[in-house]
Amino acid sequence: MTGIISSQSLSKRFRRTVVLDGLDLEVPAGSIYGLVGPNGVGKTTTIKVLMNIFPPSGGSSEVLGTDSRRLGPRQFEQIGYVSENQELPEWMTVGYFLEYLSTFYPTWDRALAADLVRQFQLPADRKLRHLSRGMKMKAALASSLAYSPKLIVLDEPFTGLDALVRDELVESLLARSEGATIFISSHDLAEIESFASHIGYLDGHKLQFSEELDALRARFREVVLTFETAPALPAQWPASWLQPEAIGPVVRFVESRFDAERTPAEVRRVFPACRDIQAEGMPLRSIFVTLARASRRATS
């Protein structure tokens, strides 16, 4: 295996319920990898297996070159983990929380920690239980950045936060994590789209695809074909054409393997009478809605 995080045929069951089924994942070093997918498909479970919180039911995974089942203090010194549902020691003040944790990290940078506290406007003498949700996430993030980890793992970190706090967190995260690999899970595509370099799409307890975001954007196009009259529709659509629909003389579909030369040629082959072809780029959200629908259709 190579990469900061990698897994082969990773699976996880809770009794008879399959949550992950044969996950093959590769997170390149230095990337910002977004693991996306609908709620309940196993994003959090994936992260918890990778972080050695849950043992896998099958397959294997490595994090920072170590079998995830053997992740220990030495590896966690280089990992920053923030999760939306993490239980923090709420009785601690922000200042004591950071001071206490500093004992365990050889690379803890007090100046950086102080800087993060200032930047996030965290009240050092206030107990964590008295902080708002956004402030708690900031405290958790500050405590996970102060030792300049090689890997930052964020599990739905922005859930429930307002846009301002979210942008602030993203901005700080990117500014303070130079050279680090960021692995972030989210069901909110818009927040990922703005900064992820790689994307993995988890659905049906499997990783449907995993690639660079730019490549993903490049291969998805919403194609609109215009005809003189309503065309005869093919019995079998090309496999890469998703969600085809025809309304009178207009046919629409999503091309999932767009190529500037190959796609028009394929259109001409299927629809020789096509008068006009327009192919438009798609926002990430539309790409995933298309994929989710296609997946559900295939399942049903």
Partner: protein, 489 residues
């Protein structure tokens, strides 16, 4: 170790109000226990329960600072080594539970004018038993639960389960499964088991987080320790006790012979029958000789085998109700009647299976009895005065005697271990047998001071404490090859 101490300091910082509360409870309980002249209403017992609950609360709180079960705890993805976490919790228990108990024990000795150094082995033994029986099992149970509510629920389930296992045997336990004198052996085995199980659970939980295996180990250990109450092996324990005896007993000491010339129908002053079991109680006249001057002989258990000429055979096994005894009168206690204080005529009491007896009563039989015996030192008598506060009794113990209205109370306590037998003499020919009765070389209750409380109506004119030490344990045989008149006995 640096990280373990950091976790420990963090726990102290968070739990200091609870630590202060528990230490205050311990101080108050210690002071009341020390100054209470006697405990007629069980105040000391109630306070002891409060103190135990306070310790448990503190232990559970410390463990739950970093609850092991669960998947949301922040520390799971921090570089906290599990062994450091476990070490921090053990340090916490040692510092805030064991150390105060230790200091309390040392202080109680000093205040009684006793050198703590002389009792250091007893203090350490009581600490070990305290850890094994009361502290670490609670820590282990806390480590498989995620919070106080879950802990209390699990504890109650375990408690009820334990009671359900114990209940069916409770009536029999009084006679067959109580090991007077040798209870310390079973306590040691139980403590070793709970210590091993608690250690295993803590290691499994902290180093591996194998929750269900840990729960299984804990359940199995609890079940086993409950069943240990009914475990066989009394004779093995007695053999161990015999090995530990330093004094050699020559064959001339405590010879037991059948005494057929005496009236075989002498009435038996008591008859101890097992509940729900149809036995025939029978006494044989015997003569015991060779009891050294001033010393006393006690039959711990006896096994009787009867064989008829037709080959039918019955054996009692080591029966706690079979005994050598003397007839003292109606006011004597059973224990007192079993303590033989010189050569003379005694009785060998035994319970025979009634159906075997009815089948074979007309036949001459061969009876063989093997007796497990203990030889006690000469009696040491210390006169006690009423309402005089703590009065010293040997060795290093004290007694408090008082009367209120028409009830007389006496409390005696010894550091480390009690005399093997202690009796309160409350008038001419009248004694109250103390419940304290052990051959144990160290305390197994988890406490340093071993106490016994007695009460009796009508304040006696004079009180004295009579004690004896066990000096040797051995076995003797009694063989009656041709026991006739079997049916008349």
């Amino acid at each position: 170790m640096k990280h373990a101490l950091a976790i420990f300091r963090k726990d102290v910082r968070h739990l200091w109000p609870r630590i202060a509360l528990v230490l205050a409870v311990e101080l108050v309980v210690g002071w009341i226990s020390f100054s209470l002249p006697s405990d007629p209403s069980g105040v000391r017992y109630s306070l002891g329960t409060v103190e135990l609950l306070a310790w448990w609360y503190l232990i559970v709180s410390a463990i739950h600072e970093e609850a092991v079960p669960g998947d949301r705890q922040y520390w799971l993805t921090r570089p906290l080594a599990r062994r450091d976490l476990l070490a921090a919790k053990l340090i916490f228990i040692l510092v805030f539970v064991c150390l105060p108990v230790f200091l309390g024990q040392v202080t109680s000795l000093v205040l009684r004018g006793i050198s703590p150094v002389a009792y250091l082995p007893d203090i350490l033994a009581s600490q070990l038993f305290f850890l094994a029986a009361l502290a670490l099992p609670v820590a282990a149970l806390a480590s498989v639960t995620a919070g106080l509510v879950e802990f209390v629920g699990t504890f109650l389930v375990v408690w009820v389960g334990f009671a359900l296992i114990v209940a069916p045997f409770a009536s029999r336990a009084q006679v067959d499964f109580y090991w007077p004198g040798l209870e310390w052996v079973r306590s040691t085995v139980t403590a070793a088991l709970t210590l091993a199980a608690a250690t295993a659970v803590l290691l499994l939980q902290y180093l591996r987080r194998w929750l269900w295996l840990s729960r299984g180990v804990l359940a199995a250990a609890l079940l086993t320790s409950a069943l240990l109450r009914w475990a066989p092996g009394w004779h093995t324990a007695f053999a161990l006790q015999t090995l530990l005896s330093t004094q050699h007993v020559p064959a001339t000491v405590a010879r037991i012979a059948f005494d057929p010339g005496r009236d075989p129908r002498t009435p038996v002053p008591f008859y101890f029958r097992r509940p729900g079991q149809d036995d025939k109680g029978m006494s044989l006249p015997v003569r015991v000789t060779g009891i050294p001057d001033g010393m006393a002989l006690y039959s711990d258990r006896i096994t009787v085998t009867v064989q008829t000429q037709t080959g039918e055979r019955w054996s009692s096994g080591w029966d706690p109700l079979d005994q050598l005894f003397r007839i003292l009168g109606t006011r004597a206690s059973m224990q007192e009647e079993r303590v033989l204080t010189g050569d003379g005529e005694y009785w060998l009491y035994m319970n025979i299976d009634r159906s075997f007896y009815l089948r074979t009563s007309s036949e001459p039989t061969h009876l063989h009895a093997r007796l497990a015996l203990t030889l006690f030192s000469p009696q040491q008598i210390t006169p006690l005065a009423m309402q005089k506060g703590a009065q010293p009794v040997s060795p290093d113990g004290f007694c408090l005697v008082a009367s209120r209205e028409r009830v007389f109370y006496a409390t005696c306590a010894w550091p480390g271990r009690t005399p093997a037998i202690s009796r309160l003499l409350v008038g001419p020919g009248r004694a109250i047998s103390d419940s304290v009765f052990s051959y144990g070389p160290y305390p197994t209750s988890g406490e340093l001071w071993q106490t016994g409380d007695q009460s009796v109506t009508d304040p006696p004119p004079a009180v004295a404490l009579a004690t004896r030490e066990a000096v040797a344990h051995f076995e003797r045989d009694l063989d009656i090859p041709d026991l006739r008149e079997w049916a008349n006995r």
